[in-house]
């Protein structure tokens, strides 16, 4: 009820009452969220899958992995990166790594190429060539592991409200890396889909990071009315604000984050 009132759009710009109400609303929001209560994680830079430990030595910056990537997930660093200028990276908040998979209408992910295409294109072996089959991906060779996801349960909508599950449904290794139950337990906890990350199987592709609705944009839309939310974002907007408000402190968005390994 309260939230609906807050989001009502029947304010009249020429009425003093309405503008004051608008002002109070913004003020209330300001205090509820605190001054800059949320921070986006310092830009996480993942290397493409198959990156070796001596990646920076071996990469001759030819850019072929960037051209080979079917989803343009891989980008090149610029001069701000210093000596690693022109090396490829993946920013999961922009575009995650899709592991060269394509989800069919039946919900099953199928590989679109024989090998992961960045590793196949690399001429110097900086990215290892990895066969792109479900079996190999689930076995998780060490070269494939580029990061590991971590869930912040204070911010996760599923942990707070039993309602989201976006990361679980979009995970390329669903039921393996991201689970709806603890990795070592058989009994489900709770009623909704509460995500658990199994660090033994998580490749760090960043898909969960990408689809997580607890985003800075949505949180800011509370104070900044110029931000237009999509239908998908609107669905979670009220919950996201509440979750950030109740988590307090200086939390980092989104709720599920990838930590870089290589």
């Amino acid at each position: 009820m309260m939230l609906q009132l807050l989001r009502s759009k029947d304010t009249k710009p020429y009425s003093i009452r309405a503008t004051r109400r608008e002002f109070l609303k913004q003020l209330g929001g300001f205090f509820a969220l605190g001054i800059l209560p949320f921070r986006t994680e310092r830009r996480v830079i993942l290397r493409p899958p198959g990156a070796t430990r001596d990646f920076l030595q071996r990469c001759i910056r030819c850019g072929k992995c960037i051209e080979a990537c079917p989803y343009d997930s891989i980008r090149a660093l610029d001069i701000t990166a210093g000596a690693s200028i022109y090396t490829p990276y993946i920013d999961p908040l922009e575009t995650p790594c899709y592991l060269c998979l394509q989800r069919g209408p039946d919900g099953i992910d199928r590989p679109i190429s024989k090998y992961l295409r960045c590793g196949d294109a690399c001429p110097t072996g900086a990215l290892k060539r990895i066969r792109n089959t479900r079996k190999v991906l689930e076995h998780l060779p060490d070269e494939l592991k580029i990061g590991v996801s971590k869930i912040d349960r204070r911010l996760c909508l599923s942990w707070q409200y039993d309602s989201c599950g976006e990361c679980y449904y979009n995970c390329p290794l669903k039921d393996k890396a991201l689970r709806d139950r603890p990795p070592n337990e058989i009994i489900k906890v709770g009623t909704g889909v509460r995500p658990y990350v199994d660090p033994d199987y998580c490749t760090g592709c960043g898909m969960c990071n990408y689809v997580c609705p607890v985003k800075e944009r949505i949180a800011r839309s509370y104070m900044d009315r110029s931000i237009k939310l999509t239908y998908f974002e609107e669905r979670y907007a009220a919950m996201v604000r509440n979750v950030i408000g109740s988590a307090g402190g200086r939390v980092r968005l989104p709720a599920i984050k990838v930590e870089r390994i290589v």
Partner: protein, 292 residues
């Protein structure tokens, strides 16, 4: 005089245009068209993957499974990793042998930045005629720059040569535009600054004085087989070849039994094209030492 010779310039321009077109078109066709749409892509609704058999730029290029690598990329890799990756040897054989035999023909026949700088040189000539050119003298720093980058590559374990290779920078610019829809300030500024300097000041400053890749290729092609040769009987000492040479090498000195700076010559063939009596020609075989 003989029959009318085929100008090397025409073939060279054709090859250069093909390389430039490839550098623009390869990233254009390898981009993901769905990235232009503002909606988000999740694993459920995915764009059709584009498969292009050709990928890469002048630094490393692949036709299907067949890869070619710039000889300096190979040197760079060995120096920075202190090891040899065996598939690289197969990729580098053809370019390396061509460079050892024919000299730095990469600079004159393939390099797209060299092509742009050559066109820019015409603006420089125009500015010289108008009187808008402020030239200054500068020494040849190509080998110094090349050595510094190799030392950096060895001690900091980063392939430093690749960062200062202009055709690679140009190709990276087009890749930035077509795959990320942005322009990187690094490469654009680099290219614009040198275009401006070369238009209003020193002629061919980068290729002639600073380019570390050009220096490296010069050293690789020091003992080359393909050279220009001057026929002393035919030469009428008109001086046209001296004007035509983009590196101010003064090929007319050859008719007076004096050496030119062979390390700098990149076999572009401009002096051969411009000679009215066909005294200058390409010659396959070792250079004869001229006795003083």
């Amino acid at each position: 005089m003989g029959r009318k010779k085929l100008k090397a310039l025409y073939i060279r321009r054709l090859v250069q245009l093909i390389v430039l077109a490839g550098i623009i078109l390869i990233p254009f066709y390898s981009q993901n068209p769905y990235q232009w749409s503002p909606s988000r892509i999740v694993l459920g609704h995915l764009p059709p993957p584009r498969v292009l058999p050709v990928s890469g730029d002048t630094w490393a290029i692949s036709f299907g499974n067949f890869t070619l690598i710039h000889p300096l990329a190979f040197v760079d890799y060995i120096v920075s990793t202190k090891s040899i990756y065996l598939p690289l040897i197969g990729a580098v054989v053809i370019p390396l042998v061509l460079t050892l035999l024919l000299g730095r023909i990469f600079c004159s026949w393939l390099c797209p930045m060299g092509f742009i700088f050559e066109l820019n040189q015409k603006i420089n000539n125009l500015m010289g005629r108008i009187g808008l050119r402020w030239s200054f003298r500068i020494r040849d720093y190509r080998f110094v720059f090349f050595t510094i980058l190799l030392i950096a590559a060895f001690f900091f374990a980063i392939p430093a040569l690749s960062v200062f290779d202009p055709p690679h920078i140009l190709a990276r610019e087009f890749m930035f535009i077509f795959t990320h829809h942005q322009v990187s300030l690094t490469g654009t500024l680099f290219i614009l600054i040198f275009l401006l300097i070369e238009a209003f000041s020193v002629k061919r400053l980068w290729c002639n004085r600073l380019c570390p890749s050009g220096g490296g290729l010069s050293l690789l092609g020091a003992k080359r087989v393909l050279n220009i040769r001057m026929d002393k009987e035919l030469c009428i000492k008109c001086g046209k070849c001296d004007d035509a040479c983009p590196y101010d090498l003064k090929p007319m000195m050859l008719s007076e039994d004096r050496e030119i700076d062979w390390l700098k010559c990149d076999n572009c063939g401009l002096c051969r094209d411009v000679c009215p009596v066909s005294a200058i020609s390409y010659h396959l075989g070792m250079r004869k030492r001229i006795e003083k």
